[in-house]
Symmetry: C2
Subunit: 227 residues, 2 copies
DNA sequence: TATCGGATTAAACAAATGATTAATATGTTT
DNA sequence: AAACATATTAATCATTTGTTTAATCCGATA
């Protein structure tokens, strides 16, 4: 719903009957836009495609979201926030150990990306172009630094259980091994002649393997490297 | 140069004086197109931008390359072939060990991607859309399977030096840890508030670390896991 | 029932964009 | 010098595309 009307709408919100229908149309547009933007990117997506996919009149897109770009910014921001929030929640669970966090991040993201495999390329390629100021208010700058994960990591280093002192490598290796297969899927499937089914099975297998590999990479205690 | 004229040109190739100038213009277009396509993608790149970047008249683009799409296909194919050829050459060197191959692939790709950081996202996001048949003749299907690397890997598994029996995980982890940081650079830099200089220094550090990590992940012999 | 406001629609607009044309320039061949 | 082929240019074309407009629909309210 367009900005000007939003105020009026919110004022009446309680007795509004058509609200479901309104929200439905508004949501249909956003859902269609999300699907297309994520699959084809901003520049390759036409407003007419969005309207058709949503089953609505073209003008309604501008009626509710002002412009293609505003709609896109909204979706890019929401998608990125969702993506980062997952990480943030898992990294800040006070009741899980460092090892458990690794396992949960791995399983959580592999499940998420299996359902939404186009999200990483979408985020990473569109953030490059747009979003100059779009992400400043997100303030992710201290998200990792202030996390429970980071405390536990430093503790583990201090106790000599973990060898690498730069936690960035730890996080980067973990995310690399989880996310990259989805990003490179198309190329990798051609490189080794793999079907979709085999790919998904491989990613399920990696749920178990990645935590083991991470442990082997960063643990100082040889006896633990076997499990 | 357009198809129709190519024949005539090749017939005269020996005494052609304007050939340098011709090739120069043709090359200027391709270079400009490559730079823009790789940075902004197919859909976001205008033929007028390419013409301006190349410093040539708009019509010359169609004169030499027929259409935007033909020009793009050429560049996507060339870029992908270059990228894969690097891997192919390194994986098929008969005079290097498995460990040396890991080191060389790591150093080679980190250097390449430091110079051309946009290439991976470009390839991986554009291959998804175009390229239905563009890559069939590339026949990468057996590239990995028939490589010297694969022979050495199987040998290492047979000798018990390497633990994981599925070589796909080995290759995928290697490529993930090398390539993903470049793909996720923008997001990662925001996540940890990192500057460009720090990023490059980190990637140089990874040249040394990744082969060590790979060795730790996949080696069965505990005494080797320390180095 | 009449009226009002938001939702929806078909039509149109203006700018952008890929491509083409026709003319001209430039250098080569005869 | 004349004829020719290729390279280059400015102008134009036809479509596409994001957006707007004006009219209409529809349910709620008074």
């Amino acid at each position: 719903m367009c900005d000007v009307m939003k105020e009026k709408k919110e004022m009446k919100e309680k007795q509004m009957k058509p609200m479901e229908l309104d929200a439905s149309t508004e949501e249909k547009i956003k859902a269609a836009a999300r699907a297309l933007f994520i699959r084809k990117g901003y520049a390759a997506t036409r407003t007419r495609d969005i309207a058709e996919e949503a089953g609505i009149n073209l003008a309604l897109l501008n009626y509710y979201y002002r412009s293609k770009e505003k709609l896109f910014d909204l979706i890019l921001l929401e998608t990125t926030v969702d993506f980062m929030k997952q990480l943030s929640v898992l990294l800040n669970d006070a009741h899980s150990t460092l090892e458990e966090k690794v396992e949960r991040v791995t399983a959580g993201y592999i499940d998420f990306l299996t359902a939404e495999p186009h999200v990483p390329i979408f985020m990473l390629s569109e953030i490059r172009n747009h979003s100059g100021r779009l992400f400043e208010r997100l303030a992710m700058g201290r998200m990792l630094k202030d996390s429970v994960f980071m405390k536990q990591y430093e503790e583990a280093v201090a106790q000599g259980r973990v060898t690498e002192t730069n936690p960035l490598h730890f996080v980067m290796n973990l995310l690399s091994m989880i996310i990259f297969p989805f990003v490179g899927k198309e190329l990798l499937q051609r490189l080794v002649a793999m079907q979709d089914g085999a790919f998904e099975r491989m990613m399920q297998e990696r749920k178990r393997l990645i935590p083991v590999w991470i442990k082997m990479m960063f643990s100082r205690n040889e006896s633990e490297q076997i499990l």
